[in-house]
Symmetry: T
């Protein structure tokens, strides 16, 4: 692990269900172009509201992946 170099990207995913699911949605799409994702940190948790309720959560995460 001591000789790895990581790069970070920031992504936002959405879900009607939960904060965790919004993150998984973002990872599902990001994993199509990024290999070797190692960790993430949630940096912003927002929601779009309709009729006085949460219509969907929008969660932003910083993702670290190994630079090959």
């Amino acid at each position: 692990m001591s000789d790895h170099v990581y790069k970070h990207v920031e992504i936002t995913g959405s879900s009607e269900k939960s904060i965790e699911d919004a993150v998984q949605k973002a990872l599902a799409k990001a994993s199509k172009s990024i290999d070797n994702m190692r960790w993430l940190e949630v940096v912003d948790t927002r929601a779009h509201l309709e009729n006085g309720q949460v219509a969907h959560w929008q969660v932003t995460a910083k993702v670290g992946f190994t630079l090959e």
Copy 2:
């Protein structure tokens, strides 16, 4: 959308179940006096503890709504 003006209020809701439910509880009460709520941002996630466990979550959100 370009000619809207928004106002923000900060509210805290509680729930024994989850972080998401605490936010929904706050929205349910706030929607009685505020129309046209558009988005929210979670700004603080706390919990009240009893017997070494979470008794209820207390989540604070900043809510934006359209100023008519």
Copy 3:
């Protein structure tokens, strides 16, 4: 309540299931050595990733307890 003194500790728990469960896991272990835990504040929400998905959530909380 006005004559209590509180001390704070910062702990991190992990869970494959949810953010809330990671916090409960940390409390379960901390409660073995700390009595009278009163509240917590989530200060960092991270996840360890494997195969492009969340393998487990890692949530850090600051916990306040009464100093007897």
Copy 4:
């Protein structure tokens, strides 16, 4: 001035023209229901983009006004 009490509200205005104009738009609407606005602090400067350009600026300000 030493015996005044101020209350703060946070508002967001939009403008296709400039950051300053977005603030003025928000003030124009807020001044219909709030008297005695004294100062503001810009807390967030965003823009909505269309076709690779700024379609309109969205500026959030905290406004202080005298509580009568």
Copy 5:
């Protein structure tokens, strides 16, 4: 306590005497229109100066109250 919803307001009070008194001055005026204030957090401590001395303290606090 688990089923309360709180709303927050930010107010600034002034006093020639002390930081604590500036907060009390702000509460005295706010309590005329807000019932059920529960807690506050000091978010800014400033002073207006005259002749090289503090003429009055200006303290800003975020106040939480129960939404009935």
Copy 6:
């Protein structure tokens, strides 16, 4: 909108004229390689000085765009 995933990039543009124009300059170049830019947030406003005046503004913005 609920099923979009966004990615963010941070860019800095320069202009002798204004803060808004520095942002537009950065967008003009970024739009050559990024489609579907949706919003931006200004995160840093600096200026390069010459002869005691602003020679050009340097404005950094975080831009969000849809991940196809």
Copy 7:
């Protein structure tokens, strides 16, 4: 002083009288189990309210002490 190692703890004290007295209350209790406390930094100033007034101040401080 150059060869000392310090450890920090975060504590919260309460007082009906003043911010300074709330800190002293926390120190009085902490000093029963911690020797060699050297400095503190106030990190949060809150108050519990009753009947529209401050019932007691709750002040949190980070305290540094020498690790023997």
Copy 8:
């Protein structure tokens, strides 16, 4: 450039016209006593309000200059 030492000062300028002009006003006065100003960073954007409008902008910048 590698052997320069910089010192920073923080100044606030005012303008009825724009954010950029408030910065230029501050630089015009500061340049009377400071040579070799190299860059600035805007750290606070406020406005004084009269009759529900911006009367003048007050912009604070941190300015770096070469220490001869």
Copy 9:
């Protein structure tokens, strides 16, 4: 007031008595070399401890004064 330019300095004062008095001590010395001090903002509140008690408060403030 719209044509003033302000400069800011950061100073730290000490007092065995109170937070307010530590600020006044710093102002008393600073006013010997700085005229026209207008306002201050408290940016750090610390204390030096001896025998488990506050020996003296050390308070840091940012002071704004008119640039003639």
Copy 10:
């Protein structure tokens, strides 16, 4: 310099030797795919520990490069 547009990336490098060397390791790998890197800002300094000692430093930097 006034007509350049910069893009920023965030990278993390590791080194058993020093904080500076961890940054150089990250740059060595990043320079294989990024030309025209101009500056960096250290945003996080961490270390992995083994047997009570630093096994390797992990330093995160934001790097700015010219967008051609």
Copy 11:
């Protein structure tokens, strides 16, 4: 790794030589009472000055260790 619980402590070490050495000094003393230290994050880098030079560096780190 998914079932570990971590606790964090904040410590400050000093060294006449370097920032890295100040951290190692703090770890050397902390490791006498804490087993299983896993990582650290540098949170503050200060120095004590004498005769216009750094007499010793004082570096504060947050250390995470496994709760058995």
Copy 12:
């Protein structure tokens, strides 16, 4: 120590060698006009890059000195 008043200045030094040396370079120049410098805090660590490597480190520190 309890009756001292401190003033703070912010300076930036450069070095091809190390972060510590960049700070020393800044102190060497600042000590020509400032006596009685007591402590510093590193507030920003940057580097200028050439050919994919650090050409020189640029470190900004806040320095406190006794006001006589």
